[in-house]
Amino acid sequence: MADRERGLTRPSGRVFVARSHVMDGDEVRRALVRIAHEIVERNRGLQDVVVIGLQTGGVWLAERLVAILREIEGTAVPFGTIDVAFYRDDIGLRPVLPEEVTDLPFDITGRTVVLVDDVLFTGRTVRAALEAFAARGRAGVVQLAVMVDRGHRELPIRPDFVGKNLPTRRDELVDVTEKGVTIGDLLTTDKERGVR
């Protein structure tokens, strides 16, 4: 599941229990290959394209995407990562901590930024990322690529490239790894029940 979503459920002391696997590793890989082709097609090549992974769930997807783009077009697109903890709008409402240090070794001004995350949910992480970009320059275009769009948006944000549209309940969690996509629940442990 997206680390951001883990974050949304913190502090919990609860555990994620998988209920159903909806994509396997091959399907995730094929979806990435398709998204890569869509990116090339939409932007008529990779001129000025940079790929930025959201810490931490989007980073491995972004890395794969960069590798696939290199195979397709023979171009190494610049790759960076960003942690948006300091730009979130729920600081003070719940614990917010940066997962990793931001690593964005290039100027985004005028570039076509492809922002990559594993799961698109409320859209608040993406909003924070847009604010983080604004503090660093004026991107020419920002496009959003996600492996899973699970709905329940709270802001007017939509993805440009989607691996799979996945209807979910709000209280479910979606976990994306290279082994596949899993829907599950947060369960309270016996130990925790004893405490409360």
């Binding site: 998988a18 209920r19 300091f86 003070g92 931001t102 503090a135 660093r136 790894t177 442990t189 016996d190």
Partner: protein, 365 residues
């Protein structure tokens, strides 16, 4: 003192009660059911968040994990401060008051810069221009400031323990910016961060987990130094061996319970040190005659060129500032590359951003 959900004697409502206990909540592993059995290891997660904290009064109450958490946050803020616009909106709408009852420019400016880089609003109180000179008590002063609606109070006071008293009177998070001869925790945190950073450059960019195995000498007026107290606790919590070096008159009467060794002979240990940490000779605190003269101190304990040459090649030289050249350190040594003094100042802002964010941002209010 880190006091999650602290109940105060004056009945100030604690803000963090439930979240603080939640964050330390029990953690377990449930049976994996359904189709997910194959990927069992990845199918659960554990919440390992450190407990939310309210005040930072002493290093003693931040355990090793707490210090390492601040180091990790500081890494993120170090990246922020290298950006063209070194500012994030993390504490937008929060107010940080600096209350300095004792002269200080660098610590106050450092805290205020840190707060501004987090987009917090800053209120400045200095004793010289305030009603404290008209005879207002500390309690009335801080209650007045608190009543204006602040989220954190950074306090420096000439009496040891004053910040602890203040936690009983205000609802804001209290950060000790130096109290008497007690502690100066943010100085110790920034020193740990600075050493760690210097070691990183030396270890092919690999950030060392802690300060394990380092031999660190703290030289100077140990007896009156709050910096020494906080640093002894912080350095040893991170695994370093600390040796205190001072003339007998400037050494505390008893070192019982301190995780340190002590000596009066600096020259004997120079060659084995990884870090030499010089303290300022605080002539304003030397009420009694403890030193024959500053020249004699320099001759026996000052970091002269000859002593600097006797250090290991990669030894680090640190000083919390303000440096008195010609007493603790010779002018030419202060400007050597081994000297981390300006790095310490730069890192002060970064680590104080981490402390403010840790207290105001990373725990739910």
């Amino acid at each position: 003192m880190i006091v999650p959900g602290m109940t105060t004697s004056t009945g100030t409502p604690p803000r963090l009660t439930d979240q603080a206990s939640d964050a330390t909540g029990a953690i377990g592993v449930a049976e994996v059911t359904g189709a997910g059995a194959a990927a069992a290891e990845e199918d659960f997660f554990v919440d390992h968040r450190v407990p939310a904290v309210r005040h930072l009064l002493s290093i003693a109450d931040l355990d090793r994990d707490g210090i390492l958490e601040i180091m990790r946050l500081s890494d993120a803020f170090a990246e922020v401060s290298e950006r063209p616009i070194p500012k994030v909106p993390a504490l937008r709408g929060r107010t940080v008051a600096t209350v300095f009852m004792e002269p200080s420019t660098r610590t106050r400016l450092s805290f205020e810069t840190a707060a501004k880089r987090l987009s917090a609003d800053v209120m400045t109180f200095t004793a010289a221009t305030s009603s404290a000179v008209k005879g207002e008590s500390l309690r009335d002063t801080v209650e007045t400031i608190d009543a204006m609606g602040i989220d954190a109070m950074v306090i420096r006071h000439h009496s040891s323990g004053a910040p602890l008293r203040v936690t009983n009177w205000v609802g804001a998070s209290v950060i000790n910016a130096g109290d008497g001869t007690h502690e100066h925790p943010t100085q110790a945190l920034l020193d740990c961060f600075t050493i760690r950073e210097a070691l990183t450059a030396r270890h092919d960019g690999e950030i060392p987990a802690d300060l394990k195995g380092l031999r660190i000498a703290i030289v100077g007026d140990i007896k009156h130094s709050r910096v020494a107290r906080s640093n002894v606790l912080a350095f040893s919590a991170l695994g370093a061996q600390v040796v205190l070096v001072a003339p007998a008159t400037l050494m505390p009467a008893s070192l019982e319970g301190w995780p340190v060794t002590a000596t009066g002979d600096l020259d004997a240990i120079l060659g084995e040190l990884d870090v030499i940490y010089l303290l300022r000779i605080q002539s304003e605190r030397l009420g009694e005659v403890l030193l024959p003269s500053l020249d004699e101190y320099h001759w026996r304990y000052g970091l002269t060129r000859a002593r600097a040459d006797a250090l290991k090649k990669d030894a680090l030289v640190m000083h919390p500032g303000p440096m008195i050249r010609g007493v603790e350190i010779s002018p030419e040594v202060a400007d050597l590359p081994a000297s981390l003094v300006t790095r310490q100042v730069r890192n002060g802002v970064i680590v104080r951003m981490a402390v403010l964010f840790h207290l105001l941002g990373s725990g739910a209010m």
